[in-house]
Symmetry: C2
Subunit: 257 residues, 2 copies
């Protein structure tokens, strides 16, 4: 039994617009106790790539990352999005520190081998340096994690932000009582995509499989929930899928074991 730790993952759409980011940072700043922010930034990456004349290719919702695209995501995730969040938090009195997996050797990954799809410079997480993160947290620092991992000789690698949040939560679950929040645009996992009021309050693995088979849960929500269930079964205390505006107020979908 450790102390409480909140890990909050927030998607691109929210961090990439000044108004929604500002509101989110107000809410995040108000969360009591040790906390970690994990952010995406895919839409900005797509926009910057486009402005540079590069096409974004997505397969199963994941970005194919060639050498040029790796530069773009390093700039956008590690620089633009991460540092703007850090500056925004400092202005709210939060001692924050922007990090990629390379910084302090925090998140090691392995370049995904080319199979049916060659995702390019994409990393599958091998290990999270939990002691380094714990030591920052105990020093009152709020880590802000960009979705970039460290592939050793392969250098920086692109890694999905949901995965980073899940892996960090799992690695820290031994020392902390971790609550993991996946924040996005909707109020939670919906029974009916067209009805914002149809949030499923508690989702078990069995229900998830049934909803998946029925096609009620589909698309990008499936890997997000896979991450969530894996976190729960690895000792993460509480996993919630919720909206960026409501994560600090309860509600959303609680993912049960």
């Amino acid at each position: 039994m450790g102390k409480a730790l909140s890990i909050i993952k927030v998607g691109g759409k929210i961090v990439e617009e000044e108004a929604t980011l500002s509101r989110f940072l107000d809410d995040f700043a108000a969360v009591a106790g040790p906390k970690i922010l994990v952010h995406g930034g895919g839409r900005s990456a797509t926009r910057v790539a486009e402005a540079l004349g590069m096409e974004s290719r997505m397969v199963n919702g994941r970005r194919v990352t060639d050498a040029g695209m790796l530069k773009v995501v390093t700039m956008v995730y590690g620089g633009l999005v991460n540092k703007n969040i850090v500056a925004g938090l400092q202005n709210r009195g939060i001692l924050s520190l922007g990090l990629t997996g390379a910084d302090l050797g925090l998140i090691r990954s392995r370049k995904r081998p080319a199979a049916e799809v060659d995702y390019g410079f994409v990393g599958d997480v091998e290990s999270v340096n939990a002691p380094a993160l714990s030591s920052l947290l105990e020093g009152g620092v709020v880590p802000v994690l960009a979705p970039l991992t460290f592939g050793g000789p392969a250098g920086l690698l692109n890694t999905n932000a949901d995965t980073i949040a899940g892996e960090a939560a799992k690695a820290l679950a031994a020392a902390w009582d971790v609550s993991l929040y996946y924040c996005f645009e909707k109020g939670g996992v919906l029974r009916d995509e067209a009805d914002e009021g149809s949030v499923i309050p508690v989702l078990s693995r069995r229900d998830f499989e049934a909803y998946k088979a029925e096609g009620v849960i589909q698309g990008g929500m499936i890997p997000k929930l896979e991450n969530a269930f894996e976190a729960v079964s690895s000792g993460v205390k509480r996993v919630v899928i919720t909206s960026a505006s409501a994560f600090s107020k309860g509600g959303g979908t609680l993912v049960s074991g």
Copy 2:
């Protein structure tokens, strides 16, 4: 009298090409004891800006930074250049951490008021959080500083890397015996620009003024040396202007008081 600390500033030209960067990182990794790396990245910023259809405007060798250019330098300095250096150092067994002035509230600045020239989102350093840097160094961490400072409500601001190195050296001089190395393409301050062998071994303030009056020292070397002399008079033990390939081997120009 503190422990020895090396602060090494390396210019854009060196960190922006893979071969020269790799050689430099080998040399930097071999430096014994606590150390800090401060990097530029102007050429990459110019290149990325150009690819985005933005023109780089320089006045007195300094970049005019409008809102669009601030995004570019945040991406290039805080992301691309900084994180590639961090990854390169991790691969050399160096526990490095990439930082802007916003991270941990390290370097506070004030947006430069528009005078004859409006430099835009450019920050003049107000304070360096020396205790935070010292605590990282004592923990065995090698800080890698990007030339971006934190202007409070003004957010991230663009700040010259030479200035950052000088200000960090001055702030740390109370607790450490600081050696500050300005590394660039030449072997040191030259008596004759056309003769690489004409390195001035020791440069006093009086000689500097004389060389400046004669036009022997000119252009970007003047603000670099102003930073250097200011550092010396603020208690920095040793300031050397030297080449990236020779900084660890002695040589270059020693700036005396």
